[in-house]
Each structure stands twice: as structure tokens, then as C-alpha cells.
């Protein structure tokens, strides 16, 4: 029964947390955003003392049920391990192995040192929630988005607005690569040995393992009932039951309750008493057919994660028509090529101009979202879980490729800009690395400022009137001034009021100059409130 409750809760958490990374509409976050916020490392980095205390107390009471229920990476490993155990001759495949204490603590110390030294990206490689978020965002989210786009395609033809299409694009090659490696490593470890990763590498597992030794409720042996069949150890994915000695390594036990159900003698019970209660149902509960199945209670769950591995395609449907018309009609923007006529010159009707893709400009200081308070503060809090990247509806956030900021999000404006009505990233951030009180606060935070680059500006290069940057500036920080100060009627060029600019990137994104915009936002080390 306890095991079934554990499985039900674990699946609930697992599915919902996964959906948090997939649901780009942000609807789910309103209801289940807390599930990300009770993850251990984000809570620590957010200095969320309440949650940390809760998890500590939870572990002191019940053992590491955090690892069995709340941690999505743990549940993922259980799923992989369960499938592995479904194979023939792999039913009772685990054996007891002594704890690799030195390895656990070396990794833990290194992890803490890295975090304190500001090498959060290094820590994020092994932090469980970060690793899971990275895998879902990089590998599963594109599939989800394509599935959604298929529905949107159908909806469009059915004249329904129930679904809308989203762009799927390669956000960061390095993060994708790391996600693939993470997935392969986690999958292999879980497939072969269950919870190896949790009990040797995972820093959260190591830390909670200390606490769970002293937990009130634990699975405990009743040596008088044990017949030494070792079924418990052979079904312990944590490999923490030493059946010969009747001992359980509680620092590694994740309180999955598998042993309770596998013991046909009822020799193991989850209790706070040192000795198993003699009064408690002595009758052997194991019906014969219950044995070989091992974990028959687990419902088969489709691990869509395993279907990942497809590289995210950069191509979006939007570019296709441009490609098509590119063929012959318009070689270059603004250059009209007529038909193959002799001396004839004409502007023909119709067709679409080619739109060159924007490219990322050089920024001396990277841009991080309003609410991050500054680059350093942001990097110390961020766990690189990719949740903000997954929900950013404007395609602004993407994992960074820089060494010190690896996988932590940064902003760029080639595909969209930080829209004034949106605070999605701050709403979802479980580590409080991005924190906004409200929408008003966002529009008053300066994360950078725009810089005009004259040699790219169409007013200079094409000699046309423009002013698209000024027209779209949400804070009116761009003023149009005549190119020739002595001629009030000459074309106007933008001038940026650095004191008012908030760095949202509307100007940069909507600048007609391609591939490089003529107005570019430069990040600030420390954000300030205007």
C-alpha cells in the first residue's frame, strides 16, 4: 500500500513537473509552479528557508521520500530501471553493494566549492533538477512543440483558435550536447544499476542521506521473521540492503517501499519502532503470483524522454515561403529583377522580398532578464534548470554558451524582444534568480541600454525615412533627430536617451537592418531601477 501511494504521488509529480517545462502557454504554472519551487537546490539558492526547512523535516520524518517522489530525475531513473527490470532474467537483478562514501563526499565537496566559487554551471551539470530540466527542455520540448504545431495546423483548417503554432529553434548547441550526454549517462546508470547516480554523484542525495539516517520512520527488519531469501536486496534499486547482516544503509535508502512489498515474510516494515511490532499482521502477505513480478504495482508509463535525441531543427515554417520566392525573383532585398525581357524595364507586381535572418551582435556584457538584479547575483542563484527558457514566449531567452555561464540563460533579440506585458520568466523561476514583484517593476528596470550603429542604419544606407525603433520604444527613450542639424527637413536618425532606455530590445528586434541591427542593446553588470 505504501509503495502504491509512493508510486502514485511520484507519477503525479513527475508528469506535472515535466509539463511545466513543456507548457509554453504558462497556464500550468499558475497551478503547479510550486512543484518547481520545492525542489531542493532551487530552494536553497532562492534562500527559501521555509521550503528548505520543510524538506529537512520531511526527510527527518520519512527518510528520502524527496528522492522518490519530488525529484523528477529520481522518478525518471525509477522508470528507466523499471523497464530494465521487465526484461526476462532481469527480474531480481540488484545486489547489495557497500556505500562509496569517499566518492559521494568528494563529489559533494567539489560541488559546494564550485557553487561558492561562482562556478554554478559546473554544479548544474550534476544538480538533479537542473539536469532534468535541461533534458526536457532540450530533448522533449521540441517534440512537444511539433506535436502542438500539428494540432495548430489542424485547428487552423478547422477554423479554430484552440491551438496556435510556436517556433521550434536551436537555442544552444552546447546545452543540447550536454543534455544528450546527461540523458545517456543517466539512462545507462539507471538501466544497469537503478539509483547509482543518486547515491554516488547527486549532491542533494548525499546531503539528504545524512539526514535520512536519523529519520523517524524507516524500513526496518524483523529478524525473527526473515528467512534469508534476499528478495528485498535483489529488488532494492538503491542496493542498500545487506540481507546477511539484516542492515539497511539508510543514507542511501530512498524510502521507495519496494522491499516492503517484496518481502513475503512481512519481515520488513516501515515504522518508527526499533523492533518490528509483534502484533502487526504476522500473516505472510505474499501470494505466489506476486513474487516473480517484482514491481508489478508500477503502472507502465510511456517514457517519451527516450524518444529524444533528435536535433532541434532550426528551420521554421516561416522561412519557407521566403526561400521559395528567393529563387529568382528577388535576389537581394530591394532589388527588383524583372522577367527575362530584352530592353524592357518594369516593376512587376506581387511576390515577397527575401528576409535575411538576423544575427547575434557582439555584446560586451551579456543581457539577463529584468528581475535578475545583475549578472553576478543572477549567476549565483540560477540553477540552469531551463524553466525560463522553456516558457519565454518571445524567444528571447536561451541557454548561454559562455564557459562561466554555461547553460544559464541569457537574452538576445534576433527572434523577438522582451515584451512589456510579459513576466513569465520571473513567474516560473524556482530559484528566485529572476524576481519581479509586478509588471510595473519590470518596466522600470534598466537591464542595458541601446546603442545606435550608424553604418547599419537604413536611413544612412538606403536613404529612406524610418524611425521604426522610436515608434516601438515602450518608454520613449528614442528621439528622432535630423541627420543634418541645420536642415530640419532632412531624414531623421535615432538618438537614445540612455537614462530612459530599459534595454527591452524592441528597437533592436524591429530594426529593418539585416543581418545586423543598427541599434543594439548593451547589457549592464548591475541592473538599476529608474
Amino acid at each position: 500500500m505504501l509503495r502504491k501511494i509512493r508510486i502514485a504521488l511520484a507519477l503525479l509529480f513527475f508528469v506535472l513537473i515535466t509539463l511545466l517545462f513543456l507548457d509554453f502557454t504558462g497556464t500550468l504554472h499558475a497551478w503547479f509552479g510550486w512543484m518547481a519551487k520545492i525542489q531542493f537546490l532551487p530552494a536553497v539558492l532562492a534562500l527559501n528557508i521555509g521550503v528548505v526547512l520543510f524538506l529537512v523535516v520531511l526527510t527527518l520524518l520519512f527518510g528520502r521520500i524527496y528522492c522518490s517522489v519530488i525529484c523528477p530525475l529520481g522518478v525518471l531513473q525509477d522508470l528507466v530501471s523499471w523497464f530494465s527490470g521487465r526484461r526476462r532474467k532481469h527480474r531480481n537483478r540488484f545486489v547489495y553493494s557497500p556505500a562509496r562514501t569517499w566518492l559521494r563526499w568528494t563529489v559533494f565537496v567539489l560541488f559546494v566549492v564550485a557553487m561558492v566559487a561562482g562556478l554554478g554551471s559546473l554544479g548544474a551539470l550534476i544538480a538533479p533538477y537542473s539536469a532534468y530540466g535541461r533534458m526536457v527542455q532540450s530533448l522533449l520540448a521540441p517534440l512537444y512543440a511539433w506535436g502542438n504545431n500539428l494540432l495548430a495546423w489542424v485547428a487552423e483548417r478547422a477554423d479554430s483558435y484552440a491551438f496556435y503554432s510556436v517556433d521550434v529553434w536551436m537555442k544552444s548547441l552546447s546545452t543540447l550536447g550536454i543534455a544528450v550526454v546527461t540523458f545517456v549517462v543517466i539512462f545507462l546508470l539507471a538501466w544497469r544499476n537503478g539509483r547509482t547516480w543518486c547515491n554516488t554523484i547527486c549532491p542533494v542525495g548525499t546531503l539528504l542521506g545524512v539526514l535520512s539516517r536519523f529519520s523517524l520512520l524507516k524500513p526496518r527488519f524483523d529478524t525473527s521473521k526473515c528467512n534469508g531469501c534476499k528478495l528485498c536486496a535483489r529488488n532494492c534499486k538503491a542496493s542498500c540492503i545487506d540481507p546477511a547482516a539484516h542492515k539497511i544503509d539508510y543514507s542511501r535508502c530512498v524510502a521507495c517501499m519496494d522491499c516492503l512489498e517484496n518481502c513475503r515474510q512481512g519481515a520488513i516494515s516501515y515504522t518508527w519502532r526499533r523492533e518490528a511490532p509483534a502484533a502487526k499482521s504476522p500473516a505472510p502477505k505474499g501470494e505466489p503470483e506476486n513474487r516473480p513480478k517484482g514491481k508489478s504495482g508500477v503502472k507502465p508509463v510511456d517514457t517519451a524522454v527516450s524518444a529524444a535525441g533528435d536535433p532541434v531543427s532550426r528551420a521554421s515554417a516561416e522561412e519557407a515561403p521566403a526561400d521559395a520566392s528567393r529563387r529568382r525573383f528577388l535576389g537581394v532585398v530591394g532589388l527588383f529583377v524583372g522577367t527575362a525581357l530584352q530592353a524592357q524595364e518594369k516593376k512587376v507586381d506581387g511576390g515577397l522580398a527575401l528576409i535575411e535572418e538576423k544575427r547575434i551582435p557582439q555584446r560586451t556584457t551579456p543581457l539577463v532578464p529584468p528581475g535578475a538584479r545583475g549578472l553576478r547575483e543572477f549567476l549565483t542563484h540560477c540553477t540552469a534548470c531551463q524553466l525560463c527558457v522553456a516558457v519565454c514566449p518571445n524567444q528571447v531567452l536561451r541557454p548561454s554558451g559562455g564557459l562561466m555561464r554555461l547553460m544559464k540563460p541569457e537574452m538576445s533579440y534576433e527572434r523577438g524582444y522582451c515584451r512589456p506585458e510579459c513576466t513569465k520568466c520571473a513567474e516560473v523561476c524556482p530559484a528566485n534568480a529572476i524576481h519581479l514583484a509586478d509588471l510595473a517593476e519590470k518596466s522600470s528596470i534598466q537591464i542595458g541600454h541601446a546603442v545606435w550603429i550608424p553604418e547599419n542604419c537604413v536611413v544612412k544606407t538606403d536613404g529612406v525615412a524610418c524611425g521604426n525603433c522610436a515608434r516601438h520604444c515602450p518608454v520613449g527613450a528614442i528621439h528622432l533627430v535630423p541627420v543634418d542639424p541645420n536642415d530640419r527637413k532632412s531624414l531623421c536618425i535615432p538618438s537614445v536617451d540612455e537614462a530612459r532606455c530599459i534595454g527591452c530590445g524592441a528597437c533592436e528586434n524591429l530594426c529593418p537592418s539585416r543581418p545586423f541591427s543598427a541599434i543594439v542593446v548593451e547589457g549592464h553588470e548591475h541592473h538599476k531601477t529608474l
Partner: protein
Amino acid sequence: MEKKKIDRREFLKTLGLGAAATTAALYGCSPKGAATASAPAGEVPTDRMTYRTSSATGDRVSLLGYGCMRWPLLDSPASDGNPIDQQTVNELVDYALAHGVNYFDTAPVYLQGFSERSTGIALKRHPRESYFIATKMSNFSNFSRENSLAMYRQSFKELQVDYIDYYLLHSLGGKGLESFNQRFIDNGVLEFLQREREAGRIRNLGWSFHGSTELFDHLMAMHDSGEARWDFVQIQMNYVDWRHASGRNVNAEYLYGELEKRNIPAIIMEPLLGGRLSRLNDFLVGRLKERRPTQSTASWAFRFAGTYPGVLTVLSGMTYMEHLQDNIRTYSPLEELTPEELELLEDTAQVMLKFPTIPCTECQYCMPCPYGLNIPAIFAHYNKCVNEGNVPKDSQDPNYRKARRAFLIGYDRSVPRLRQASHCIGCNQCVSHCPQSIKIPQQLHRIDRYVEQLKQDKL
């Protein structure tokens, strides 16, 4: 089922072709068509087209003329850059000719410059005397004599003909009298074309008009004084433009009246206002359907244009077979509007003017926008939302949420983000190309501001 097959075979025999015909038409045309077998939309007659006779040459022209500006397009252009779906064009042309349509109107600039070629290919498959062909002198950007004459001669090659039935000075009025003189008088092109008419290579000489009253009067005076002879004039006429012309267009009532006085045949363009008169709002559609439940909204606009006896032919850019069939039905034969029906259409026009749609006819003259925008698609989406009531005026509107979603999601569906109004820089290069005198950048900026309000939920 067996019966249907027999019907089809018989029909094909009588028609002699029919690769083009759709099943709907097949059932409809079968002589044995029992009530159950007839097409839901009614039959498409082959021999009842209304014809008008030209006062200039005695040409017997079908009241429905085929506008070749909106041929169906391929998903991606062919290797020579031709975007037109030639196979479907052939089918449409065959069907049109088989049902009595004999006037085809094209121009060198239509469809990225490929319309003449496609139209020529399709028509070449039929006897030259079975159709009239109209094309134009589109010397907008370079009006030197050499360039203009080269354009004229190229039309013969593209259309594969040795004479042109109707030749038009394309879109007079855009920039007034001065531009007319530059394009056709100063360089002697009009003189040249009149001589070509004498030589028989042009059978009718006329012009299409998008301009001001002054220019129109000037051109009429030229005709009166004998300085030029206009065999026909092509004007924009529909029940909205009749008395409520927008932009620099002149009320069709005046234009038609002047032509009728001089017995100059009028050829009608934009009878549907670029399709806008086939997409009315629910209230207006309902009123028309009440009177004629089985007839399309578009049929009213065609009947309007056809009701005036001085009209030689009414051009329609029919992209789809169903449009062609519907229009053929409307004019086979024409049922003239009653005075009461005319009044209803005038009222329809007045109600329409209260809805702030943008008078874009999707003619594509403004395209390609050098900054990549899809201008007609943006306007089409906006107009569609206006007609469907999805342009909320206030966030307190009862259907605000639904309308907002429909507007924004529909916007992304109809126009890729990079081609939306937010990218209009206001360079104004499009403005001079618009025959409806829409202030395109202002309208785009207005739509963009509205989209921003919707997105920010600050309506």
C-alpha cells in the same frame, strides 16, 4: 451510382473536353439531371451567357470577362521563376471558353510579370478568333519611348499573338495629368499606338483609370476634340464605388455617365472590390440571402455591374473554379437588378462604410515591399477580423477574450511574424503604387498600434 456514371459520359461527349470540369458541374450539366442528381449550387449553363456588342468594333463580348491578375499559384515557383500553376490555368481557361467567356484581361506586370505568358500558353490552345485578349502598357517606372515600345512588342511574344484585341494605357491617373503626358504624350507613345491601331495590330485602344476627375475630363475632352479616339475605357465600378469612391478614385456614377454620353463602352474592373463585396459581415450577408437564398453574395455585385447597358464586360480575377462557375451562373443570363434591389445595394454600401475596413483589393501593386512586409495579407487579416466582429473596441466588450485570441492567433497564421505591420518603417515607397490611394504606412502603423494594445491587454 451507375446512373451518375452514364450522365457523366454523355456530358463529356457533348462538351468535348471536361478534364477541367468538376464533379459538381458534371452533375449539374447532365441533361437527364433529375432533382436528386443536380449539383447543390445549380447548373452551370454553357450556352446562355449574356453578350454585349461593342459600339466601336461590333465585337460580341461576354459580359463576364476573365481577369488574369489572380491566377492560381504554385507552392513554390518553377525553375524559371514562374509562380503560376499553369495546369490549373489551362483548365480554368478551357472551362471559361466552353461556357461562353471570351474576354481575357492581362498586363505585363501582373503576377510578378508572368501573367501574360501563362495566359498566352492557355489561350494558344484555342482558335485565335474564339477569344478577345486585352493587355496593357505598364510603363510606370521607365516611360522612355524605347522601353515602352519594347514592353508593347514583348506582349505579343508573351501572348503568342499577332494582334491584340484590346490594348490599354495602364492605370491612368496615378500621378495626374503630368504623369500621363510623360508616359504617353511627350514620348509619342500614344501616337505610335494609334498608328498601330490603324495597322490592325491593335483592334481597340483604351485605358484603365484610377485617377482624378481632372484627368478623366481631360481624356474625355481629347476624345471629343478628336485628338484621340477611345474605343473603350476601363473603370472601377461596384455598388460601393458607384457613389462612395474612396481615395483618389472617382464615383463610378460620374465616370459611367460620361462614357455613356459618348457611347464609349465601359469595361468594369473591381466589381467585387478585390473580393471584399463577397465577404460582407453577417448582417449584410443575411439581408441579401433573405431575398435570394440560393445565390452567392458575390452574385449581387456582378448583377450590379451588369445591369448598366453601356458595360461591355465585367472583369473578375477568378482564382478558383467555384468562382468561375458562380460568375458564369450569374451571367447566364444576366438578371438585371430591380430598382428596389439597387436601393438595397446602395444601403449595403452605406452600412459597409460604417465598418472601418481598409479598401485594399489585394491587387499586389504595392508588392514586393522592400522590407519584406506582406501588405495585402495584413490588410486582409484586419478586414476579415472587422467583418467577423473580432476587432474589439474595448476590453469590456462581451466577447473581448475570444475576439482578442482570434485576432492575434489569426494574425500569426495569416502573416509570418517577420512580415507583419510592426516591421513597416514608413519609407512610403508603396504609397504611389496603390490604385486605391490607401495611405499604406499610416494604416499599417495603425494596425500595429492596435495589435500592441491587444497584446498588452491595454485596450
